[in-house]
């Protein structure tokens, strides 16, 4: 069992109506608020009006940053930092999914960054020492950005999409009923994202952290059980609540406690797919993961025990033949994603082989593939991409 450090200062209000805590959550830091959101779905659902009513009644001064992109860009971060400085912002309120919260985290850290180049901060400053406080209201169960300190920011000029540590939210309001309106496609992609975060930790060494291993299996079983319910009955509170509870833990680092860093190889490969084709992150992960698993299993037979455990403990598959079990577990994962309506091949998304070599050559950002649980070369990555066609 490896050493670890646990440090998650975020206070979470989880459940129906927890927006009643919004006023006190913001007020402890001040009354000048930057409200950050994305494409405007919160205006359609009425959440925007509900928030503005609370802020207005509370006497808060609100500056808005709307239109944060699904893959948030450095220009949005720059704009947010400028708005904070010009308006003496005391606290940032992010309302949306991972992109909006990621962008807001970078804004909070960027506010105190003394250099001129915020992209330099994203690339080179590990864990800024000081950040503006961030409060968020989550509207989709997927990334776990509400309970971790990291964010992914894109620079279209340099063709880079990079993850960095900024700051943990101070307060996260997680009301599962806000996800009732999430589409079937985005619900399925979100669940694939949650499962991917979990599996990126689960498939690593060693295997002697009983609590971590069991918690990972519990999260996977929870998502497998409740995603079909949410797809069939979008306003099933129990299903949406279980998915939201799962997403908050899956990316928090807790599933890596006692284990070695796994490299998160599927994420590294998916970032290339998203960067070249702008596909939905969770869909890219769903397509890649079973193919990555089969590649690992056939190239490193010493990993078989882990896939056997996955088949038994996550999917409840029984049998005597370990290799057969291992393969059946991977098949079960692929079948599950397909049953959720996720297109499970790159060709279904209109993606061919044309950029595979370039994407494979770029994928090893920060040594995430060479230092992975089972290290991957660029030839390996190309092979996995081809398996996804």
């Amino acid at each position: 069992m490896e050493n670890f450090i646990h440090s998650i200062p975020t206070k979470v209000y989880f459940g129906k109506g927890q927006i009643s805590h919004l006023d006190e959550a913001l007020r402890q830091y001040g009354t000048k608020v930057l409200l950050v959101y994305g494409g405007g779905s919160i205006k359609k659902t009425g959440l925007y009006d509900e928030i503005m009513k609370i802020l207005s009644e509370g006497g808060f001064t609100v500056t808005e940053l709307a239109g944060v992109e699904p893959n948030p860009r450095i220009e949005s971060v720059e704009k947010g930092v400028r708005l904070c400085r010009e308006n003496g912002i005391e606290v940032v309120l992010a309302v949306g999914g991972g992109s909006t919260i990621d962008c807001s985290k970078a804004i909070c850290s960027g506010y105190y960054y003394e250099g001129d180049d915020l992209w330099y901060m994203v690339k080179n400053v590990p864990g800024p020492k000081k950040s503006l406080p961030l409060v968020d209201i989550l509207t989709i169960s997927a990334t776990g950005s509400d309970f971790d300190g990291g964010g992914v920011i894109t620079n279209l000029k340099t063709h880079e999409k990079l993850g960095a540590f900024f700051t943990h939210p101070s307060v996260s309001i997680l009301d599962p009923s806000y996800t009732f309106t999430v589409s079937k496609y985005q619900t399925a992609a979100g669940s694939a994202d949650i499962m991917s975060h979990t599996m990126e930790c689960y498939f690593s060494s060693p295997g002697d952290s009983g609590l971590t291993e069991g918690l990972s299996e519990t999260i996977l079983k929870t998502v497998i059980r409740y995603t079909p319910v949410a797809l069939k009955t979008p306003d099933d509170y129990t299903a949406r609540a279980n998915l939201m509870h799962a997403e908050s833990i899956a990316c928090s680092g807790i599933l890596a406690y006692g284990k070695k860093y796994s490299g998160w190889p599927c994420h590294a490969m998916e970032h290339e797919l998203s960067a070249y084709y702008d596909i939905t992150h969770g869909v890219g992960l769903a397509i890649l993961t079973p193919r990555w698993m089969r590649f690992v299993l056939r190239n490193d037979p010493s990993t078989e025990w882990r896939f056997v455990r996955f088949a038994k403990n996550v999917w409840g598959i029984e049998g005597e033949d370990d290799h057969g079990l291992a393969l059946k577990g991977i098949d079960a994962l692929e079948d599950f994603f397909r049953s959720c309506g996720i297109p499970m091949s790159l060709s279904e998304l209109g993606i061919g082989t044309e950029h595979f070599a370039d994407m494979a050559a770029h994928a090893d950002v920060g040594g995430r593939l060479t230092n992975a649980w089972v290290p991957l070369t660029k030839e390996d990555v190309e092979e996995i991409f081809r398996d996804c066609l």
Copy 2:
């Protein structure tokens, strides 16, 4: 699924050699330290010398409060607060188990308490607003006081033993190797304590929080797997690490997320046993829990599904007959405690029926029995005590 609030600001350094972070953990708050410990076992193991070397080399000024009792008394809290005030203490360092950490939490809160009567604070002040920062080094896996904000303080003059919320530790150093020297008896009692914390949450309504339910089962299975290993091979790092990881979560509140308050009835009944007979808390819990379970099952058949789940998911018992399964799960728990060397009856501890009526009459402190998952009357409590003979 019920609403919940997650708020655990404690930073945990988990693993071998994490004492290397002690200097920085303290120094962020100051250099004037109150060192709190118990009966002196840390002097026998060498941990005291290791700590004093770090504090001396770091130029810290150390005031000592030694001899904190296994059931920490209000007089120790009063003495600690006096020492802090007289010596301008900036941070409290607790080294030991739950009793030492509980006492230290009350000292940290008591420091800022403006009244004269610290027992009044324990009884009547819910969550003091301000506390001195607390750093702890854990030496036994049992109470989880390193990762929660509560403490239990005893007042011998008024014959009261009360739990209260004081403050979360700011930093906890959890090095499993410090538990290598814990005796077999205390190791077993500690595991019973961890399991009891978990079961007090698990046996409550509703049952639709997938993550919480699964995490509870994982903790129970982890303790069941690794306690016998630690008893047989006290310096087995993996076993000690798994027990320590489990104890930190079991009492943190995380296992109650999404569930109704259960009342923690076994704890309420055990506090009476400890108060009258000064027995080891974990041993009292181990004796009470299976008897409480059988009482609940025979008096409220609607609870059967939960005991069936316990038998299947925790103990791996299969079968068609639900009632038989439920009973077998409870038997498995009792057999497990016995196999760990815990005396599993009150008569083995020399306890007879003489105080049962009085103990039963006092047990419902704060409505913990009348508001329990399955409410208990004082007659019920007497019956459970008699079943423990």
